[in-house]
Subunit: 252 residues, 2 copies
């Protein structure tokens, strides 16, 4: 397929790499800022472009810009019948109505960062304005991923919310622990195997059945010790207390 | 080495398997309850035992019982000069003073569950009452792990607190998301690749530099959408609000 990428951030970059890797052609990379469009276009053997009016013809146009810019970008496109998709979890497909009669969603349910050397497995949630659009988007997604699922706007928004909880919030816990380790001169990297284990074992058993720690076993002495250790870290202490309460209510 | 295991729960079971796998002999497995001691003893080709007074001689005695039972179990042992360790993150090594003159800590910085089919990588934090004890414990730990670090009681307690944050709390986020997926008829397993990516990529880059999501980019529309989606889930809404605030303060 011939692809035009609209955007040059993390999502555009990683999807562009994956798309090229699977044998498609990326023709153009658009960004408002030429200094952003150019390096990605070069990497993908595409042409950089800064005017939405100067985009050429392609089989699929992929809009990967910040959520709140999607509708504005779409309104500046005039693609007639050409297929256009956005890649956002929380934005309705109807944000693309002004761009073309054929539109849909190609949402990667993954955290994509251009600086990570290995492209992770990316499940896609797809949607289309018509069943023909949906079939085209589904088939395209299958060329770049082993896991493609049809999801409506509502279904996608709920999975996006779950994704925020399991990824953004977990990552924040890691960031907090890393900061605490720095302040207490502990080696945060000692926790890597534990973090990996917690993430990978939920494929064997439900996380609700795997909960461990002082909160779930109501180990008051350890809970008190931890509170004492956190007396100079009020923001962590706050999160710690809320988690303890939330865990204890969940398993009551 | 000849090992006697005191305890038959998750830690005793997984450490017992690892110790046997690396060529040591587990002679006896103690539990208060014979029906607990017996299956683990059978698996490890050891003898089950329910009396702490009937333990034989061994090179190392490993106490892997609940934190609040360690001191009590230790006080019933009379091991003279035989080396005894506990495996707890938050309990001082001095809890073993009554058991023997030679004691220390062999703390696995990992979440160990007997039902998980693959034994994960286990970093150990070790401590000893004397430098000879420490050397013995360190050398033993090195036979079952590639990553052994000396840590005092205080250092170990801080890493244990960090471990609670990155593992128990993350797992709770996964459990909450799984429950939300069930209620909203989403497929939680679609999130496995994302969860794995979040956990594994922190080895490439600090989590503080990898934070993404609506909170850190102050995407008010998505934050409002999520609040609306959670209106019938007050406990998740509460956590969501606290994380949003905590993330925004962390990156201010």
């Amino acid at each position: 397929m011939q692809v035009i990428l609209i955007g040059s951030g993390n999502t555009a970059t990683v999807l562009g790499r994956k798309i090229k890797e699977e044998g498609h052609d990326v023709l153009q990379v658009w960004s408002r800022d030429l200094s952003h469009a150019k390096p990605l276009a070069e990497e993908l053997d595409a042409r950089p472009e800064t005017s939405l009016k100067s985009l050429g013809k392609a089989d699929i146009y992929i809009i990967a810009v910040p959520d709140d810019a999607i509708e504005n970008v779409a309104s500046q496109l005039d693609l007639h019948n050409h297929l256009v998709v956005h890649t956002a979890g929380s934005v309705s497909k109807d944000a693309l109505q002004k761009a073309s009669r054929n539109f849909g969603v190609l949402y990667p349910l993954q955290s994509l960062r251009k600086e990570i050397p290995v492209i992770p497995e990316i499940p896609f949630l797809v949607d289309g304005n018509t069943s023909d659009d949906l079939t085209l988007i589904y088939d395209f997604a299958e060329t770049i991923s082993k896991r493609v699922t049809v999801a409506t706007d509502e279904e996608r928004k709920k999975l996006h919310l779950s994704a925020v909880i399991v990824s953004n919030f977990s990552n924040h816990l890691f960031a907090i622990a890393e900061e605490y380790c720095k302040k207490s001169k502990s080696d945060f990297s000692l926790l890597y195997p534990l973090i990996n284990e917690i993430a990978s074992r939920i494929e064997f058993e439900s996380p609700a059945k795997l909960q461990t720690g002082p909160a779930v076993r109501n180990d008051l002495e350890t809970l008190r010790n931890h509170e004492e250790l956190l007396k100079d870290h009020p923001e962590i202490k706050n999160l710690y207390a809320l988690f303890t309460k939330s865990i204890q209510e969940f398993y009551r």
